[in-house]
Symmetry: D2
Subunit: 457 residues, 4 copies
């Protein structure tokens, strides 16, 4: 029974509540980096001696080596990565180790470490999006003039080019990168270190020095804000949420395209899973998992945002959950991105199936209406009505594409329609004609692919 | 019965599903603005005649006047604001009205209108945050040296100044503004107009011209992306979600501060509600509603993000919900901000209660530890232990503040502690001493208030 | 400017914050019902006179008639539906109206009204699900033996029957009904009325009497809980969230099935939208909107749950948002259900396309493996390997269905395979064979349809 | 660089995507239980031999012992717990092991195992809530007549008893239990086993036999539904979300009560954390973490619900995330409950502080109004106005409690007020008077405590 099972051992439960070492040991690199900058500054300001500083620097380097080498003795009793490292330092270098924590507190230390980690992870996520963009642009260029159906409501609307479709995601990823990098730049503006527990510190510290050493623009302007705020993490999580939503849309398309009903594309063996009994079957597990991860990353943002909403200033234990939520979101994003890059890189497309689907449903009807407006000066709305009648006739007579309907059927409804007009109604002519800036015409796709490649250099 | 009740009238249900006019009529200004720019461009490119353009411009101006004057005959049969305006235009100016929709589609039109609306609303939200900052800075300066408890875990940790506490929210709001404005700037980069249904258009349009006329940097690079993406709205909603989380934290503090148990502050009559039976009671309804709105805005982001995740390109009806969710979030944010500005402007603080609370719990213990480190060169961790013993002694002897403990009690534990050290342990000395950059010292608060006021000019 | 625009008019903002009449006027029926029960009890306990009670009963009936007739003068100054009705009552019947509020408070009144509304709405939602079930069962029976592909990962896995597929949603809806009704029954257990502001009341009221009059099992056991808790609404919203998730899955299938790539089904004109230019096109707007509503209803639950999490007992203004969130969710659910019933009722299926798709991908491979296990006693895992080899051979030789592969090819891999085994590999034989309870065999589908119809009686 | 780093090793990424063994090994007990029931049924139906069954039963028991003993060789190559166990079984018992998977599939196996796990975890969570209720009732009875302020808007409204306040949470927990148990009972209705991959199976299996052996009421009615649905998990997660919201409210109160500003209660050393420098400080970390966990559990429900919404039938890989989300939610709930039980059990209350706070703010004003209504037959609304005037007078004269205001001051406003009326206005008399059913009177608290204790037996 619950009460009985646990009541006697508050220690275990409190340790489970307090110990964050299983999660926050990922901050070890940032913690050591922050401590080294702090100690150097304390020495520069004569708050500690040069000898103490030298011992601290060397000690921390050795600890870094231990952690990288897997020999560091992590302890749950010491609760978190910060105490683990500090305790180990004192074990190694003695008295000097006890001076390291002068003029700082766990509150500003955690905020600094976690901010540094988030900034780095954000930049890596942004690099990952760049890698995806490169693969997409490459595949887009290869398929610049392949025709496929452009859908609205998953109904065939107008023909588009496959290259154009793939480039749509490059644009999304670019905005996602801007959002992520913008957040990292904003985070870099203010360094929390030196805010101490919440009120600042009476020591004559040089906050510019530590801020610059750690890659920040300067020190934070308000110590309460510095230890209590997590909007840098919220900003990162929300940007990841939006970015993974775009990955989820592309994943949804991969699931559709590779389903036998669509037959637009095939996943490579490496990026699909099989079945011993149906060896030809390739399941898009990776694409499906990306969709699921999208739901999870969004939920992690919601959880952290919801949790912070409740809190008066400054620090409260609720904030301990920030790291688990953030680390998991970045991990899920990295896995999603890796899988997407792999799938896109190795996806093979079926030109005939794409072309055939593009022509279905009289998808070039708009081209006819546009011709009526352009050449006959028919007002736009009337041109639509005339076209509607012709499409209905095509359907009745059972021809598969508008371009295949005899001219006489066109002229029965609008006598001024010419053979030249009818010739425009193939899917190839249709996509070629849409050559306004940003349009689906193959030449525009190549132009955009070129533009992206120049940006990537 | 359900099936029975509805089955016979699909028209009603389908109208309820399709008609968005109740929601999207808020886009009328942007719709007219977009149509005017589009018509001017069509004329410049000789796609329509100058006469048609003149008629369209005048007609749209008249419609704007009708809508502003409340005489425009909105119709649910015409589904949305775009068709309402276009139909009215044709009613007024005839044939020319039917030419307006040349070389565009409802898809790029909606995306453009909604993007323009969101950009404006974002800038207004940012201006609103600026207004809040001004009020906060003013109140902070007025209370630069008032001492209050700084809390961690809602337990007294160290004394801080009220001005410092209020300025913490100015920093948060500044980052919130950066996030919002950054999003609006990013949105302004690409104008969807000219992307047509999803594939671009065969007309020789000048997308730079319309983009610039509407305040965009240029045309969007990919027509599928332009009509299918809503990350500009997601970005705005997520930034609002984070900004309102900060408002919610401040609202939580107002609820606490004005509760009789805290007694730190009093709400004005104007920004509180009363009770006929307890006329002295002032309920912080406005603050409570802000907390509730924070939950709602976050949920609106989650809903829109979740909904987009499911969608293959390009347009799907699911996206129709984007506007209701976004409008509601901006409305809730505006109401929250107005209420917060009003409350902060008129909140009166109780100096004595704040001071007394600040001194509780031996809140200057850290100051003693810092003295030991600074003056006696005691290692930081040992200084904490010594201080802990003295605090325990103070508690046993029942003195209310550490500064009131006799020197002999200090010296019984650490003989080297001097009268000068003891004198540092008042809450006033404590906040004065924390004068590192970003610290809580009154001089630092005034310096920061000054810095903000210069920024506001 | 924001501050400037609003600062002078706190009244407007506070009215916007406080007035809930635009939302809560939907509670008028429950409010009158509750007041009538309360007045009758007060008279029965001699707290008011029989004359006062008679005047109140008559007055409230007249007010109900006014509201139904659209002549009731709603006022925003009177904030909410409760004060609107009470003020109108006093206007009509004088002094006696002022005695109605004896021994109750707005807190228990709101909780009771809102609980009654939610209970009713929940039962209606459950009735709506029943209506959907009836339509699904009817369509399932009509298509009991139509063969279609059963998908995993949207890849063809095994043939199933269309009737079986439709019945899957009947099972889901049944559990959704159980969840909804269970919540309504739980809510009916405790009547808040008589809890007063939060502490109960000193009047000798008979809470059993009002509870029973309003259809509750009895009075609530704790007055603080009664006015502060909203888990009845949270329970309803979470059950709606899950139910609409099932609708969303079915909506997703309708979008897929009616897309030209699948071609499994056609929406009726009444339940789809068209395009003037492509008259044959039928967009599944209603299905898409259901998906979007699913995201919204889930977000409404998250918002209300998040908002309540922050609140100490008892009442706080944050709770005012409960009604807007709950009403919107039930409205969205009703619209979704109506649309789904309409779509399913009028959906027409394409038997040939379904059958052809079912046979793709050697979907009867498992049937062969099962035969090997059953007839040759091949261990299950080995049977899978043998079948895999045969499927690979079928793919190499290019036959479309396993049933069309010559027997010699089977026997080249496993000589003991017989003609009888091969004959089992058509999609029709496959679905017939899966006749365990709950299996897809036509006879099982009819049996289940029968079972459901008996339950519906 | 991302692409570079990962592109070459799809195997690693795909393993990370596919392998669920790190998560789902928690299902080992249910998996073995399910397999034993399945094998026994296969033997009973003569699908496997008695010898094979005996070997399987013994082999599975040995595997259970290995897992419990920590010697089971888990392998990531074997992906999940199901394959790990089956492979080990074949390793141990040979051929017979390969027959176990006859007439089932991983899809129905996973659904069954996970459902069994969720049912058990739900019952345990419900038992945990019962344990909390017992502690709350015990503490409530101990403090049945202790007076404390009842808050609305965190402003003093009316005096209540501490016992009554604590019992409010017992009522909430009871409804939470009903919701959880109702879900588990509903889940127990249908056993998925025998649904096979999605279509059922051609073997003559006895699904009733396995269903009953595993504690289900019977087999599921539809095989597609059985493998594709996860509403049993969604129902459990939503019920946990609501239950933890109640824990979060209580946690919020503990944070408030133990803050120095309230001073209502003290946490025990065992259930708080300290500070070396301020030894008297007790931080409510456990309470704060419960608030944070509430946000997380709600987000887990949102993630799973959002993820399922996107899915056509039947199985898709997205569903793999169901277990991680569900396990984490139950773990977080268990930790929250343990901490809450521990805190409540050892919390000590400060009677004087509670009493003093209860009397503030003229909290007995309603009692005076009720007296006017009862004794003088003043209409309710007028009684409120008179009382308001008296409260204002009390405030002007500066008396702390209404009971201390001289009778002459009462009579100056309403001459008919008597000394007896004034004597009712102490907080003790106030709570005693509210003795309607469910009211805060000490006798009612004891009555309710008694009722609960009888229920617990």
């Amino acid at each position: 029974m619950w009460g009985g099972r646990f009541a006697a051992q508050p220690d275990d439960a409190m340790q489970a509540i307090n110990a964050s070492i299983d999660i926050d040991q990922r901050l070890w690199r940032e913690d050591i980096e922050g401590s080294k900058a702090h100690a150097a500054m304390l020495a520069a300001k004569a708050i500690i001696t040069p000898e103490d500083n030298a011992a601290i620097q060397a000690g921390l380097d050795q600890i870094a080596a231990e952690i990288e080498g897997g020999t560091f003795p992590f302890s749950r009793e010491l609760e978190d990565i910060h105490l683990n490292i500090e305790a180990r330092l004192t074990e190694r270098i003695g008295e000097a180790g006890k001076r390291l924590h002068t003029a700082r507190s766990r509150n500003d230390q955690v905020a600094t470490d976690f901010k540094l980690w988030t900034m780095r992870a954000t930049r890596e996520a942004s690099d990952g999006l760049r890698a995806l963009q490169k693969v997409l642009v490459k595949r887009a260029e290869e398929h610049a003039e392949w025709v496929m159906p452009g859908f609205t409501h998953l109904q065939t609307a107008q023909p588009v080019t496959l290259g154009h479709h793939l480039l749509a995601y490059v644009s999304m990823a670019e905005r996602d990168r801007v959002r992520l990098i913008g957040g990292a730049l904003e985070a870099a503006w203010e360094c929390p270190l030196g805010s101490a527990a919440l009120a600042g510190t009476p020591y004559p510290i040089d906050r510019d020095m530590t801020a610059h050493a750690l890659g920040f623009h300067g020190p934070s302007h308000n110590s309460l804000d510095a230890v209590a705020s997590r909007d840098f993490a919220l900003g990162a999580l929300s940007s990841l949420s939006i970015a993974v939503t775009h990955l989820s849309r592309l994943a949804e398309e991969i699931v559709l395209w590779t389903s036998p009903q669509f037959g637009f594309a095939n996943l490579s063996d490496a990026w699909s899973t099989g079945s011993s009994i149906m060896p030809q079957k390739r399941n898009p597990d990776a694409a499906e998992l990306i969709r699921a991860k999208a739901a999870r990353i969004g939920a992690n943002f919601a959880a952290l945002n919801g949790l912070v909403q409740k809190l008066p200033l400054a620090y409260a234990k609720d904030l301990q959950e920030d790291k688990a939520l953030t680390f998991a979101a970045f991990d899920d994003f990295a896995l999603s991105l890796t899988a997407m890059i792999g799938m896109i890189e190795t996806l093979s497309f079926n030109r005939a199936a794409l072309r055939e689907a593009a022509a279905r449903g009289y998808s070039t009807a708009t081209d006819l209406a546009d011709w009526l407006v352009r050449e006959l000066k028919t007002p736009f709305r009337e041109a639509h009505e005339i076209t509607g009648k012709i499409v209905r006739r095509a359907e009745e007579t059972g021809v598969a594409e508008l371009a295949l309907l005899p001219l006489s059927d066109f002229q029965a409804i609008e006598p001024r329609i010419t053979e030249a007009a009818r010739a425009l109604l193939t899917v190839e002519k249709s996509v070629e004609s849409r050559d306004c800036y940003g349009g689906t015409a193959p030449q525009r796709v190549r132009e955009q692919a070129q533009r992206w490649m120049e940006m990537f250099e």
